[in-house]
Amino acid sequence: MAFVNIYKLSDYIKEKTDALLARYGHVNALAEILAPTIGTYDVQSSTDAAITVPLNKKAGIIQNVNMAFGTTIKLQNSYVNENSIVFYHIVPTNTTELTQIKSDLGMVRDISNTNDLNFMILPQAGQRVTGDIHFWIFN
């Protein structure tokens, strides 16, 4: 039978456990990148030319957009910074819409505020676009 200083053993276990927990902190950070909490904001088919969407999530859906050329949807999001890599696309309302859409969705930074993005319509044929905007912010 070996003797052991139970207090030193306790310190040893604590040190190892803390190291593991620190590693799991990285795991949580990774999970936040790959599986972020998704937020939604419904603009309720508004046809306003300038719509502001406050939505502080790394990934999200701006629901029920109804955009024409000239419309801007400003996403206010504290995760956005000047180095953010942003992925986005529009999911049309239905398959019929797909045959009607001849315009595309674009995105530009707001030069006055690094937390803001503007979504806009690029006019190939000036068609109105309805659906949901999906976005994912990668920092």
Binding site: V27, L30, L34, I85, F87, G106, V108, L122, P123, N139
Partner: protein, 134 residues
């Protein structure tokens, strides 16, 4: 005085720790799929190849686009023939919605893909291409 069988305890603790380390090893491999993020600015012209060896990145193109269409190569050692490359375009100015600018990844092969672009008008500034390789 508390009694403890130190030999068995150490064995148990080592086994438990090894299992955890193995799991963290998997996580490290997972992390390599999406990190690090890298940035690069295209030099010389809007058709000059760029090299950015990362799964996620941002390419700032050389400058404003003239009317027309062309492409440039992105050398990236993370890209395989069967990779999925997703790209989103960041425009430099709201005025660029007038220009009908389009860009998309094409020609995905081992070690590279191309970004093809076209525009019906002169853009206000350089595009930024955000991409992820899966």
């Amino acid at each position: 005085m508390a009694f403890i069988d130190i030999f068995n305890y150490k064995k148990y603790f080592k086994k438990s720790s090894d299992a955890t380390v193995a799991r963290v090893g998997h996580v490290n491999k997972l992390a390599e799929k999406v990190t690090p993020v890298e940035y690069i600015t295209q030099l010389t012209s809007n058709t000059t190849p760029v090299e950015i060896n990362a799964p996620v990145g941002q390419i700032t193109m050389f400058g404003a686009l003239a009317i027309g269409s062309d492409s440039f190569r992105v050398d990236n050692d993370r890209v395989k023939t069967d990779s999925v490359v997703i790209a989103s375009i960041e425009y430099s100015n709201l005025a660029d919605r007038l220009d009908s600018v389009l860009a998309a990844p094409v020609n995905v092969v081992d070690g590279s893909f191309d970004i093809a672009w076209s525009t019906a008008g002169v853009t206000t500034g350089a595009l930024k291409i955000n991409f992820i390789v899966l």
